[in-house]
């Protein structure tokens, strides 16, 4: 029982950054915007969070800085795709490439420095319950409030939403910013709690896994929760198996989350009815108001 509880705590810790980033991206995509720059926003959140906490000694300022950094990156994405109508796929890739480069440059002097760890409250890290609350909050907001209905309308048919008098671009900007805040926070979680230090590329593809989770969960918050915990389990499983010393090379175990992501995508994308029902119909398409 003790062991099971410890294991569960570790899995929750590993799953939380995926959960936070995927929830943010889900809201962004629900409004019809595909932001492939999650990895870039996350890694910027990680470096900003570490830096702010390291320089002030206050981990909570680190959390704040990581959110602000993620939002700043997402604003850049929003300006290009929503105002300048640039291709969303290409801009998302650009955001990731820039984020990885910029964070490496900014974090140059942080490498090897001791981090400031976020204190636990009653044995759990405060961001774990926060992420669970966010699952409920985004679900309620998207499916039980008028604002959520407007977001889904904008994502499903931007022309109709525009005709009804809703400001499509403003709604999308807000959703992109929310996605950036959550991705930044997910990155901050990595450098402030999960492994309180700064390592170049420390997100190690988690942003991309979060993107896959959104598809896997067919844009539904509860399924994102399930998916994130499944992936948390897979990554912890690889650690446990390594510690057992079964003679399986560590590199093979480390590749499990990536292979798992591919498998999950194959299983869920093969189910056409499920994906078609929930995919926001305007996803990835630029909106130009004709009048």
């Amino acid at each position: 029982m003790e062991l099971l509880l410890t294991l569960l705590t570790i899995i929750m810790t590993a799953a939380t950054p995926l959960l936070l980033a995927a929830l943010g991206e889900m809201v962004t995509e629900r409004s019809g915007v595909l932001n492939l720059g999650v990895e870039g926003m996350m890694v910027m959140g990680a470096v900003a969070g570490f830096g702010a906490a390291f320089m002030t000694g206050n981990p909570w300022l680190g959390v704040l800085a990581s959110i602000v950094a993620g939002m700043a990156m997402s604003l850049l994405f929003g300006f290009l795709t929503l105002t300048l109508l640039a291709n969303q796929v290409a801009t998302g890739l650009a955001l990731t490439l820039l984020g990885l480069g910029l964070s490496a440059l900014m974090g140059e002097s942080f490498v090897g420095q001791p981090g400031v760890k976020l204190p636990s409250l009653a044995g759990v890290d405060p961001l774990v319950p926060f992420s669970l609350a966010m699952v409920a909050a985004t679900g309620w907001f998207l499916f039980r409030t008028k604002m959520g209905l407007i977001i889904r309308a904008v994502g499903n048919s931007h022309a109709s939403a525009h005709a009804l008098g809703y400001n499509v671009i403003a709604v999308r900007y807000l959703c992109v910013l929310f996605g950036g805040a959550m991705s930044g926070l997910a990155g901050g979680y990595l450098s402030l709690f999960y492994t309180p230090q700064w390592v170049e590329n420390m997100t190690a593809g988690r942003g991309w896994i979060a993107l896959a989770l959104v598809v896997f969960a067919s844009w539904l918050p509860l399924r994102i929760l399930a998916g994130a915990y499944l992936f948390g389990t897979i990554s912890i499983l690889s650690f446990v198996l390594q510690a057992q010393g079964l003679g399986i090379p560590s590199q093979f175990l480390s590749s499990l989350p990536y292979l798992g992501t591919i498998l999950a995508l194959v299983v869920i994308s093969g189910n056409k009815a499920l994906t078609r029902r929930n995919t926001p119909a305007s996803l990835g398409q630029p909106f130009v108001p004709d009048r």
Binding site: L36, L76, L80, T83, L84, L85, A86, N87, V89, A90, T91, L93, A94, L97, L98, G99, L100, G101, L102, A104, L105, E108, A204, G205, W208, L211, A212, V215, P249, Q251, F252, S254, S255, Y258, L259, T261, I262, L265, V266, S269, G270, K272, T275, V288
Partner: protein
């Protein structure tokens, strides 16, 4: 500020956009240098101009440009067809592993055939690795952006395992490296600094440029990218185009991987590319998704690598600046490309136009 759709694409803007983007990138780089406390003009000179003033560094530039041109040319064909292969870095690694297997298993084999087999296996390795996301997209509609990227991590871990485990050089003092390649396991050099792979990269880009603009296959690819519906009516199969584009770009990335380990790197080691596969995404866009344009874009991105090394040695600016400058460049290109299909109108001129009409 508002955007208004142009009646037709502006050809002038399509050509001018990369230059505007480059100019903006240089200005931004100057600002970054200044913020770091360096003399911006001196740093810009060391970064962008000085590498072009000596023969050896120009040769270096061509050598670094060759993998970028090879991969970028393949990716530009891919992106034309709306096939988003972003895993070229992994396909490069897969090609390097398969090509490197030859000297690892037959270290004493020396004949021109060795090089041919290595190059062929390199292409094959890249194609195999790219065929996976293509198959998964065609068969299960799995998003190729995510699957091709995930496979980068997988193959990099595989290479890491090989050079630390079974393929490690027994005489290598436990360093995670394979045997050093020699003789016909290495590419011949045309001059003191330029190897055969550089020439091949330029030829490949020119041939692909011809294929894209002058053949039916090229037309098929472009039509599929512009409208899958129109392509279907013309009898072009989308699935075949997806597979063709992935195999082509994967094969070229694998070729680049084989060239890298048989020239600059000279053995297998955990890291064989400073992110050429990702930088080539920028090359493809900067080159206007045109294999010939990719030649110029590849040279510019190669300059960004060499300039980064130069400012690190001369001015102690970390070479991480390279990736920042590359990322900023891509942002500016994408922003400037807006002006190809749209023009900026101010509210005042709109009102005037409305009054005139």
């Amino acid at each position: 500020m508002r955007l208004e759709k142009r009646p037709e694409r502006s050809a002038a803007m399509a050509l001018a956009s990369p230059f505007i983007a480059l100019a903006l990138t240089i200005v931004t780089a100057a600002i970054i240098f200044a913020l770091r406390g360096n003399n911006p003009l001196a740093a810009l000179y060391v970064y962008f101009i000085e590498p072009l003033t000596a023969l050896w560094s120009v040769e270096q530039l061509l050598v670094k440009a060759s993998p970028l041109i090879l991969i970028g040319a393949g990716l530009s064909v891919c992106y034309r067809a709306n096939v988003w292969n972003i895993g070229a870095e992994g396909q490069l690694t897969a090609g390097a592993i398969l090509a490197g297997a030859v000297p690892v298993f037959f270290p004493a084999w020396q004949s021109p055939l060795v090089l041919l087999v290595m190059v062929a296996l390199g292409v094959l390795g890249g194609m195999m690795w790219a065929a996976i996301p293509a198959f998964l997209r065609n068969r299960f509609s799995a998003n190729e952006i995510l699957t091709s990227l995930m496979l980068v991590y997988v193959v990099q871990l595989l290479l890491d395992y090989l050079v630390r485990g079974p393929w490690r050089d027994p005489q290598g003092f436990n360093f995670p490296k394979s045997v050093t390649f020699e003789g016909w396991q290495l590419l011949p050099y045309l001059t003191s600094g330029i190897h055969l792979g550089v020439l091949i990269a330029f030829i490949v880009a020119l041939v692909l440029g011809y294929v894209v603009s002058r053949t039916l296959k090229g037309y098929e690819i472009t039509v599929t990218g512009l409208s899958t519906r129109a392509a279907r009516f013309s009898g072009f199969s989308e699935k075949r185009t997806v597979m063709f584009c992935m195999l082509l770009s994967g094969g070229l990335a694998g070729l680049a991987g084989a060239f890298e380990i048989s020239s600059v790197v000279g053995q297998l080691q955990p890291q064989i590319s400073p992110g050429y596969g990702f930088a080539a995404i920028i090359v493809a866009f900067l080159g206007r998704l045109n294999p010939v344009g990719v030649i110029f874009a590849g040279l510019l991105l190669a300059l960004s690598y060499i300039g980064g090394e130069a400012v690190q040695t001369a001015l102690q600016i970390p070479d991480k600046i390279t990736r920042v400058i590359q990322g900023i460049l891509l942002f500016y290109i994408l922003a400037c490309d807006t002006l190809i299909t749209y023009r900026i109108v101010s509210p005042a001129s709109r009102a005037a136009a409305a009054a005139g009409a």
